[in-house]
Amino acid sequence: MNAAALRRVWGLVYRHLALFRRSPPRIIELMYWPALQMVVWGFVTAYLAGLQNDVTSIAAGVLIGGVLLWEAALRSQMGFSISFLEEIWSRNLGHIFVSPIRPAEMVAALMTMSLLRAMVGVIPAMGLAWVLYAFNIFSMGPVLVAFFAALILMGWAVALGVTSLILRYGAGAEALAWSVLFGITPFACVFYPVAVLPVWLQPVALILPAAHVFEGMRAALTQGVIAWDHLAAAYALNLVWITGMAALFMGQLRGARVRGALLNIGE
């Protein structure tokens, strides 16, 4: 990406940062749900640990770690999709698409915003986990960064799919920006091993990068080992999903230009 392209990406990122600067409730909203999830699942963890008197398997943080990592995926996906929706809500999409910014640069800007939004949401929740439950997610070591990155990538793949649906069906599809990844949660095996699922459902889980990330997280937290096979599978699947969803996005963008949907997508 050359300097001119980087500047166009920065232009769009600046637009969203300026929006946050002028709208503190938006920043609070970013932190609210991850913090709430952290509190709820933290107490569930404490309760289960007390019931089973088994601190090593549960209070080791499998649930809390799952919440924190899954929030990274959720915030990544929502950050991308909602940043795109902001352009629709402000009826600004026409100006963006007739500027010289390329679709790939627009996607890069949305990914940047998604990363920033995910960090603003998840880092306070990490602090809460440490303060309230003495859970330090960094105890997993450097592999934690690889887990987070894999989930952020998966969030982007899903967000590209959601954005494609918005381009296809207009603002009527915007509810998907909040809900679609929640629907994947059971198959992502955030809080339980893939083996818990019925045998026929396990292949569904294993085509999701998240299921491999959480298998890896459990191995790191409970056995102290790095499951390189799961990590590799997560990144390979991310490559496939992002490639597929990027092709879908470009196809729907072209379709929107054929139908004239970019003229009235907010209606």
């Binding site: 600046y14 300026a18 600004n92 026409g94 007739v98 010289p100 004239g260």
Partner: protein
């Protein structure tokens, strides 16, 4: 300033442009061809549904034509539209700027998107020329209609465009503000050699700004010429009466 200042005589060449939204439906634009020369203003007139917005959307690359070709500033919009878009700009009261951002922030966003060099100086100059200084730090959504129009014009001029597409730039403005906008547009065109395509329902505005007018009806050019030429040919007093003759299909009667 020379009409060749931007390196091309024809800022815009449109060849047999057709847009059909769905098979079996009549085309929204049907075989439109014209050229727009640097330093001139071309008016695009027609009633609602005549194809003006569809045409402008195709010229901007926002909408893909069913067939035909658009060459803007020497670049084919089908294959090289981003090179052209960097030197074009657009304004419409129907597309907003982000309301929560201040005027200055909005101009910065578009300055970055268009790769404007010396951006802060450019914003300062536009603010002075278009009288934005008093409200440049205010959110765009808090401005009056007249102020929003000036901001939209500043956004449209941020990259010193060589080709400017304007969709009803003075809609819903009072006569004084409308006149103010028209004066700025004329000055910008005359100083820079910019080519302007203007879609408007304000016939007085078209008479004042446009050297040539295309009259559209059902996606086709049904007549064209300079405003004075059209008024003379139709035997009318002004362009509005010519427009009504064409819109109501009373052209033959008018010419008789």
């Amino acid at each position: 300033m020379s009409a060749h200042i931007w390196g091309v005589t024809h800022a815009l060449t449109v060849e047999n442009l057709v847009k059909r939204y769905a098979p079996g439906r009549p085309p929204a634009v049907d075989g439109l061809s014209f050229t727009l020369t640097a330093g001139t203003t071309l008016g695009l007139l027609g009633g609602n549904g005549a194809g003006k917005t569809t045409t402008i959307a195709m010229l901007l690359g926002l909408l893909l034509p069913t067939s035909g070709r658009v060459v803007a500033l020497g670049h084919d919009m089908a294959t090289d539209r981003f090179a052209a878009l960097a030197r074009m700009n657009f304004s419409s009261p129907y597309i907003s700027l982000p309301h929560k951002l201040s005027v200055r922030e909005n101009l910065r966003v578009y300055g970055h998107l268009y790769g404007v060099r010396g951006l802060e100086a450019r914003i300062a100059r536009l603010a002075e020329e278009l009288q934005l200084t008093d409200f440049i730090e205010r959110p765009a959504g808090d401005l009056s209609a007249g102020q929003k129009t000036r901001v939209a014009l500043a956004k449209a001029l941020i990259n010193t465009p060589a080709l400017l597409l304007l969709d009803e730039p003075t809609a819903s403005l009072d006569p004084d503000t409308g006149d103010w906008v028209r004066t700025r547009l004329e000055r910008y065109r005359d100083e820079t050699g910019c080519a302007i395509l203007l879609a408007s329902h304000n016939m007085a505005e078209v008479e004042r700004l446009c050297g040539h007018v295309l009259m559209l009806k059902q996606g086709r050019v049904v007549d064209q010429g300079s405003p004075d030429d059209l008024i003379a040919r139709y035997g009318r007093d002004d362009l509005e009466q010519v427009f009504l003759d064409i819109a109501r299909g009373t052209r033959a009667e008018a010419l008789a």
